[in-house]
């Protein structure tokens, strides 16, 4: 029997597709450290995110692809992850050069639980192994400091001869909020230009360090902050949060139309407050009806990321500054958050590939 060769193994692996990006793993550069010796084959598949939801599928596909290669006696596949940046746009200045993926958690209206979803998504991505930060851009009602239980103030850190703001760390995540700079119990009554300036500062002057994902809790609606983000930053994608009832969905449509205009890809839709499981009778109650978001996602071809139930412990622990994922990592709802985060990471990997092959605007002068 002929001995297996590196070429034959690579050739066989070309038949394995990344299930989300729909290109083979060899041309995507995901196969690393390939060694073939005496029929013993080992390599590392470098996933595009540690939160990859399809690791098992890729592993299985690799195994069956190599089963047909002559001379392979032993197979060892390990997994690593290198998050790819998916920031589109080509501005000469990137206010957040050390952030690979900037993700906006948005909704057309308030009260859908956006901040809670944003905080738990950030924690979930971290639990999957990605370096993640959380930015609270909700100027009008910053709630991240409460939800994450942040007690410290941002501190001054020396960076490249100057000073920047070091974000406080809460539950292992760097967290920044416009709330840190406001007097407690003071309402913000700024007009657009002031808001833009404050946000710019929050972006440019914060020392985030290297991040795979920066999750931004946006203020509700389609106003000044959204415009500032879309004009001044390279955004990877937006996640829309909605509640199931019809009116809330009308707001999803509005938010979508705004992001379409400024060409920010929508990487997912999450339905929050989907149902309530009664702790007395165990029955699932669909308080705001259910499934509206799935239908909207289908209609607008937005990836649907999942349904989050109404669970009183989410609110209870949120009020105490502990995300439910930290408090009860094994609970049903925590599993749902982890799953949603994995799907989101997958969609961002897809967005990264699209952004790379698609637009890369060059501005030249001749």
């Amino acid at each position: 029997m002929a001995a297996a060769t590196t070429e034959a193994v690579m050739e066989a692996l070309r038949g394995v597709q990344d299930p989300e990006i729909h290109r083979d793993i060899v041309s995507l550069g995901m196969v690393k450290n390939l060694a073939v010796e005496d029929g013993k084959v080992s390599f590392t598949v470098e996933l595009t995110t540690p939160a990859c939801p399809l690791k098992d599928k890729i592993e299985g596909d690799c195994k069956s692809a190599l089963a047909g290669v002559e001379g392979v006696k032993d197979l060892e596949i390990s997994f690593g992850a290198q998050v790819r940046g998916s920031k589109v746009g080509a501005g000469q200045t990137d206010l957040l050069p050390t952030v690979k993926n900037l993700v906006l958690v948005a909704s057309g209206k308030g009260g859908v639980g956006k901040s809670t979803v944003a905080a738990n998504l950030a924690v979930a991505l971290k639990m999957h192994g990605a370096t993640t930060g959380l930015l609270d851009a909700d100027i009008y009602g910053p709630s991240i400091p409460i939800l994450m239980g942040v007690r410290e103030e941002p501190r001054k850190v020396a960076v490249n001869g100057g000073y920047k703001l070091g974000p406080p760390i809460a539950h292992g995540l760097p967290v920044m909020s416009i709330g840190f700079f406001l007097e407690p119990e003071q309402a913000v009554i700024w007009r657009g230009p002031m808001l833009g300036k404050a946000l710019n500062q929050l972006m440019g002057d914060v020392h985030w360090g290297e991040l795979d994902y920066l999750i931004v809790d946006m203020p509700p609606g389609t106003g000044d902050i959204q415009i500032t983000f879309s004009q001044q930053l390279k955004v990877s994608g937006a996640v829309l949060v909605a509640t199931p009832q019809q009116v809330a969905l009308a707001d999803v449509i509005r938010a979508k139309s705004m992001f379409d205009k400024v060409m920010i890809p929508i990487v997912g839709l999450i339905e929050n407050m989907s149902y309530f499981i009664c702790d007395g009778c165990g029955k699932s109650h669909e308080i705001f009806s259910r499934g509206g978001a799935v239908r909207a996602a289908e209609r607008f071809k937005i990836p649907f990321l999942g349904e989050i139930p109404i669970v009183s412990s989410i609110r209870e622990w949120g009020d105490k500054g502990v995300p439910i994922l930290v408090r009860e990592p094994e609970s049903e709802v925590s599993k749902i958050f982890l799953e949603i985060a994995a799907k989101l990471a997958g969609q961002l990997s897809v967005a990264a590939e699209t952004a790379k092959s698609g637009q890369s605007l060059k501005i030249v002068s001749s």
């Binding site: 060409m263 698609g358 637009q359």
Partner: protein, 108 residues
């Protein structure tokens, strides 16, 4: 995103023109006075006019710098300091003065 997006914007200084290459292969050459004339900002176009209908003549317009705006637009910095127009890709394409497109009326 099926709408065309620019892949290269070349400021040909010597000719005072801006050459835009799109991802669908289309190439358009925009004279700088023409681009300045159809500046989409409210100062130039007013608040109620439809975009691209009103031409503001700035005969000696000189382009200084081109900057991108987020994922969807560019802004031009003119020699006189004017810079408030955000030209989104759709509008830029709409303005394309080549004989194929020519959707916009002649500058007058």
């Amino acid at each position: 995103m099926e709408k065309p997006v620019p892949v290269e914007i070349n400021h040909v200084r010597a000719e005072g023109k801006i050459r835009i290459t799109w991802d669908d292969g289309h190439v358009g050459v925009y004279p700088q006075e023409y681009l300045r004339g159809y500046c989409p900002c409210a100062l130039c176009q007013g608040h109620d006019a439809a975009l691209g209908k009103k031409f503001i003549s700035v005969p000696d317009a000189k382009l200084r710098e081109i900057r991108t705006v987020g994922n969807y637009a560019v802004e031009f910095l003119w020699h006189d300091g004017h810079s408030t127009g955000i030209y989104n890709y759709e509008y830029l394409r709409y303005l394309c003065p080549c004989s194929q497109c020519k959707q916009v009326g002649n500058e007058s």
